[in-house]
C-alpha cells in the first residue's frame, strides 16, 4: 500500500519561529489565487462592478444631465468621474461583506491551523479585489466614451485617473474590511456598510455641484475623501492636469489606509 503521508512535503527543515516576509508574500498570493478562482466560479460577484456602471451612467446622464449641466453631453465630464467613484465604493463595500462570509466558513479554521502569516488571507483578498476595482473603473470609462464622452486629458490623463480610482478603491476598502472584522454577521456588515456608503457617495460632488448645499454640508463634502478623489479624477480626465487636488486625493486615501488598515488588521488578528 502506498504511504499516506506524502513522500514530498515541506522537506525536513527546522521549525521556523515566525513567517518571513518572503513567506508572507507567497502566502498572500496563494490566497489571492484562491479568491480569483472563486470569482471565476461565482460571476455574480461581478454584478456590482459591471451592471452598476452601465445602469448608473445611462440613468444619471439622461435624468440629471439636462437639469444640472444644460445638456447630457455637457454633463458627462461631471458625471463619469462621479460614477467612477461610486462604483468603486460599492465594489469595496462588497469586500467587507465577502471577508465576513469567508471568515464564518469552515475553511477559515484550516487557515488558522496552518503555519502561515496571520495576515495572508486578508492580504490575499485585498490583492484579488484590485481586479474588481479595475473592472469597475474600466467599464465606467468605456461606457462614458460610448455615450459620447471625450475626455480632454487624453490617454495619460485617463490612465492616471484610472490608476487613482483603483488606488482609492483599495484604500477605502480598508474601512469596510474593518467593519467586516468587527461585525457579528455578514448581514450586519451589509447594513452598516450601506449606512456609510450612501453619505460618502451622495454627500459629495459626485452628481451635482456643491454650491447650493448648506454651509455645514459643504464642510463635510469638502473633507469627504470621495469628493477629493472625484475632483482629482475630473482634473486628470478632463484637463490632463496633475493639480493639487490629485495630491489631496492621494493624501486623503493614504490617511484612510493609515487609520483603518491597522484597525482592520488588529481586530482581524484577534479572530485569526
Amino acid at each position: 500500500m502506498t504511504p499516506l503521508l506524502p513522500t514530498r512535503g515541506a522537506a525536513a527543515r527546522p521549525l521556523a519561529p515566525r513567517p518571513t516576509l518572503r513567506d508572507t508574500i507567497d502566502q498572500s498570493f496563494a490566497m489571492a489565487w484562491r479568491a480569483l478562482i472563486k470569482m471565476r466560479r461565482n460571476p455574480e460577484q461581478f454584478f456590482d462592478v459591471t451592471l452598476q456602471p452601465l445602469l448608473f451612467t445611462a440613468m444619471f446622464t439622461y435624468i440629471f444631465g439636462g437639469a444640472v449641466a444644460g445638456s447630457t453631453a455637457g454633463y458627462l465630464p461631471i458625471i463619469i468621474p462621479g460614477i467612477l467613484a461610486q462604483t468603486t465604493l460599492t465594489a469595496c463595500m462588497a469586500t467587507g461583506i465577502q471577508l465576513r462570509e469567508d471568515m464564518d466558513k469552515g475553511v477559515f479554521d484550516r487557515f488558522k491551523s496552518l503555519p502561515i502569516a496571520r495576515i495572508a488571507p486578508l492580504a490575499g483578498s485585498a490583492i484579488a479585489d484590485l481586479l474588481r476595482y479595475s473592472i469597475a473603473a474600466t467599464l465606467t470609462i468605456l461606457v462614458g466614451i460610448a455615450m459620447g464622452y471625450r475626455p480632454g486629458g487624453g490617454i495619460l490623463g485617463v490612465g492616471a485617473a484610472w490608476l487613482l480610482t483603483v488606488f482609492a478603491g483599495w484604500a477605502l476598502a480598508w474601512v469596510f474590511t474593518w467593519l467586516g472584522t468587527i461585525a457579528r454577521s455578514a448581514q450586519a456588515v451589509q447594513g452598516i456598510s450601506m449606512m456609510i456608503m450612501f453619505p460618502l457617495s451622495f454627500l459629495s460632488n459626485a452628481f451635482v455641484p456643491t454650491q447650493t448645499m448648506p454651509g455645514w454640508l459643504q464642510t463635510f463634502v469638502s473633507i469627504n475623501p470621495v469628493t477629493l478623489v472625484i475632483q482629482a479624477v475630473r482634473d486628470l480626465m478632463n484637463d490632463g492636469a496633475f493639480t493639487a487636488n490629485v495630491g489631496w486625493a492621494v493624501l486623503g486615501c493614504s490617511a484612510v489606509v493609515a487609520v483603518f488598515a491597522p484597525l482592520a488588521v488588529r481586530s482581524y488578528g484577534r479572530k485569526m
Binding site: T2, P3, G9, L15, K105, G106, A120
Partner: protein, 330 residues
C-alpha cells in the same frame, strides 16, 4: 518514516496540564491533564458537549488557553503557536476545506500556503488524491462532494506537511459503516507510517478499535483514563441485553440474574429490557438458560460491548443524556 518539520526529540507528543476554557458562564474544559506519547493513538471519549472539540482546538492553537498550559513535542502552545502549527495536522469536526474550490485546488492551495513550490504542491495533491481514492473526483467542486469524500479530503489536507502529530475530531461521525471502516484503516496506516494521533469520538467501540489509551471526559473534566481493556474491565467486558415477553416480570428476572452471576449486576431495566454487564461473555449462556428454566420468556437477546452510556453510568453515575441536560442547566 522521516517526518517533515522535525520537533525536538522526546517521547511525549502532547502534554497538557490543568487545561481550562471558559465560554461566558460555561466551563467547557475544566482542568484537564493529558499526556500522549509519541507513536500512540490516544482517544478522547465523551458525549455531546463534553468539551472534546474545545480541548482539541486549544491544543491546535485555534482557541486561546484560559488556564493551565499545553506543550506539543515540548513546545509551549500559547507562547510559540507558529512552531506548534508546523507540527500538527488538524482535521476538525466539520470539514474545513473551501466549498468553491475543487478537491485538487484545495490541496494545491494548502500546499502552496505550506511553502511547497508550484510543482511540489501539484505532485503532493496528486499523491494524496490517489491515496484517498479521490482521483476521479479531483476536479469537482467540494460542494458536490458527499460527506465521506469531504472527510477524506479534509484528512488528506491535514497530511500535506507530513505532520508528526495529527488531531482528528470525531473522524467517523456521520459516516456509513463501510466508510467508517475505511477511515479506521487509514488511521491505522498513519500510525504505521510513524504519526502520533489524538482523536475524539463518541463511540466506545471506535476508541476500542483504534486507541492505545483512552481518556473519558465529561462536562469538561476527565473522569477516567486507561487502556481500552482497563476501561471495559471497569464496566464488564460485554453486555447482555434481553427483552422480556412479559415486562411486569422484570424484577423477578433481575433477581434471578443476580443469583446466577453470584454478584449484583448493573441492571438498567427499560421497557421490559435488562442490560446485564458481564465480566465474561460466556456467562451470557448461563443467564439465558436460567431464564428459560424459570420460564421467563424473552423476545430478543444480544451480547455486545458496553455502550458509551454504560461506561458513563459506571464511571460517573449518570447517563450521557443527563450530561446533555446538565449542559443546558449549567
Amino acid at each position: 518514516m522521516t517526518t517533515g518539520p522535525r520537533p525536538a526529540v522526546g517521547s511525549i507528543a502532547v502534554e497538557a496540564t490543568a487545561l481550562e476554557k471558559q465560554f461566558n458562564n460555561v466551563r467547557a474544559v475544566d482542568g484537564i491533564d493529558l499526556c500522549v506519547r509519541r507513536g500512540q493513538v490516544f482517544g478522547v471519549l465523551g458525549p455531546n458537549g463534553a468539551g472534546k472539540t474545545t480541548m482539541l482546538k486549544m491544543l491546535a492553537t485555534l482557541l486561546s488557553i484560559d488556564g493551565g498550559s499545553a506543550r506539543i513535542f515540548g513546545i509551549d502552545v500559547a507562547a510559540r503557536p507558529h512552531e506548534v502549527r508546523q507540527l500538527v495536522g488538524v482535521t476538525g469536526q466539520y470539514a474545513s476545506v473551501d466549498e468553491n474550490l475543487t478537491g485538487r485546488e484545495n490541496l494545491v492551495l494548502f500546499g502552496r500556503l505550506l511553502g511547497l513550490p508550484r510543482k511540489g504542491a501539484a505532485q503532493t495533491a496528486e499523491e494524496l488524491l490517489a491515496a484517498f481514492g479521490l482521483a476521479d473526483a479531483a476536479d469537482r467542486q467540494i460542494k458536490q462532494f458527499s460527506g465521506g469524500m469531504r472527510r477524506r479530503l479534509d484528512l488528506a489536507a491535514s497530511l500535506i506537511s507530513r505532520p508528526p502529530l495529527i488531531f482528528l475530531d470525531e473522524p467517523t461521525t456521520g459516516l456509513d459503516p463501510r466508510t467508517r471502516g475505511q477511515m479506521w484503516d487509514t488511521i491505522r496506516q498513519l500510525v504505521r507510517d510513524g504519526a502520533t494521533v489524538l482523536l475524539t469520538t463518541q463511540y466506545l467501540d471506535e476508541a476500542d478499535q483504534l486507541a492505545d489509551r483512552i481518556a473519558v471526559i465529561d462536562r469538561g473534566k476527565k473522569v477516567a483514563e486507561g487502556t481500552p481493556d482497563e476501561l471495559k474491565a471497569s464496566v464488564g467486558n460485554s453486555t447482555l441485553h434481553v427483552r422480556l415477553e412479559d415486562r411486569t416480570r422484570t424484577a423477578d428476572a433481575a433477581a434471578l440474574v443476580a443469583r446466577v452471576l453470584g454478584e449484583d449486576p448493573v441492571l438498567t431495566p427499560e421497557a421490559g429490557g435488562l442490560n446485564i454487564a458481564l465480566a465474561d461473555a460466556n456467562r451470557a449462556a448461563d443467564v439465558l438458560i436460567a431464564l428459560r428454566q424459570a420460564e421467563l420468556g424473552i423476545t430478543t437477546a444480544s451480547v455486545r460491548q458496553p455502550s458509551l452510556d454504560e461506561v458513563f453510568l459506571a464511571l460517573t453515575g449518570h447517563h450521557t443524556s443527563d450530561a446533555d441536560q446538565n449542559e443546558v442547566a449549567r
